[in-house]
Symmetry: C2
Amino acid sequence: MPVNDHIVRSFDEDLEALKAKIAQMGGLVEAQCESAVRAVNRRDQTLAQRVKTSDDQIDALEAEIEAMSLRLLALRQPLGGDLRTVVASLKIVSDLERIGDYAANIGKRAIVLSGLPEIPPANGIVRIGALVQSLIKDVLDAYADDNLELAVAAWHRDEDIDELYTSLFRELLTYMMEDPRNITASTHLLFIAKNLERMGDHATNIAETVHFQVKGTKMEADRPKGEDASYIVEMPE
Amino acid sequence: MPVNDHIVRSFDEDLEALKAKIAQMGGLVEAQCESAVRAVNRRDQTLAQRVKTSDDQIDALEAEIEAMSLRLLALRQPLGGDLRTVVASLKIVSDLERIGDYAANIGKRAIVLSGLPEIPPANGIVRIGALVQSLIKDVLDAYADDNLELAVAAWHRDEDIDELYTSLFRELLTYMMEDPRNITASTHLLFIAKNLERMGDHATNIAETVHFQVKGTKMEADRPKGEDASYIVEMPE
């Protein structure tokens, strides 16, 4: 008689399997983020196209992890910390899926940008991209190891991303005002920068979820915020 | 001896309380969305400020509903449709919270815009805003009544929002190219339009969650999409 995995496996093994799947999804999202920024920076249309199409794999993993979590809730009826782990997994995959979406959107814009006249500030994008990638990496490590300290430290670094975003936003507005031929490319770069900033926000959500999972409480302080780019007003000379 | 609510109340009553709380949060989010668009349209700084600060109430409701859901999972250990209802509530409040965030962000930008020279296309914003509001209303009604038909119909309407967004995007790029003094205001309007389009995406997520809750399966078709504004290239004459 075939042995039924669900009955024989321990709950801990189920949770490990869930965490391993989330690590796999996280690895893919990290790679997508890195490729998206590289595609913008190198005007690499082939890579951009690949980022755009690879998003399907992330969506498929999200569906798989959601189904695993639901099965765990139904079959194991976990309590306390175990319940928080399963609920945390639902929250984290939703944030990872959004980060993946933003990467795919950057991929789409990179395709357009590769056909437009080049403007300088791709460097700013690369710098924000590197910060976002390291933030995503750290919150995923924090999740894998239940490392609260790493989660809190990562969470605070979102401020640096917001600051870089604000200065890049100003810079791009200036390019547009200098020459209307820069407007289309600058607009796409503005949205790419915004997408990266949002990816950072979702990474901090994951840091908050790790806190909730480990401690069972919300993070205390309000999220630190640099100057809000919504308030920026630049006028032409 | 005091009677313990949690033990005396039936599970159905608990679920009703959960749904009522979500309806309350949904009502607030709808009102925020309406006020945000009105603040942009009427250049109403006081209203914009109110939208910005009211977001805290939505965040508080999200935390409350998450705690209710977790309590329900732990104490009632629901199965089948009941489990889906609780998991759906977690997904829906996360989408509602994001919609609220976007409304608050529009509020912030409305404050800036009220101090800038006026440019024409606020009409486009009002039209997208009206579509988004009716979409949010319909998915919330669909959720309240387990109305699958309404959810699917609402889901398909997201296409209209994407089309309006794309045409507004083109229009705003044109204004920027015509006169650099329009660039700052147009950029804020671009982001406002993008925020509204994202609110529509989150509303369709809620429609998908209603489908999952009622039927236990994913919606079949891919989300319909109009022309993707990421691909738009406008060049100055």
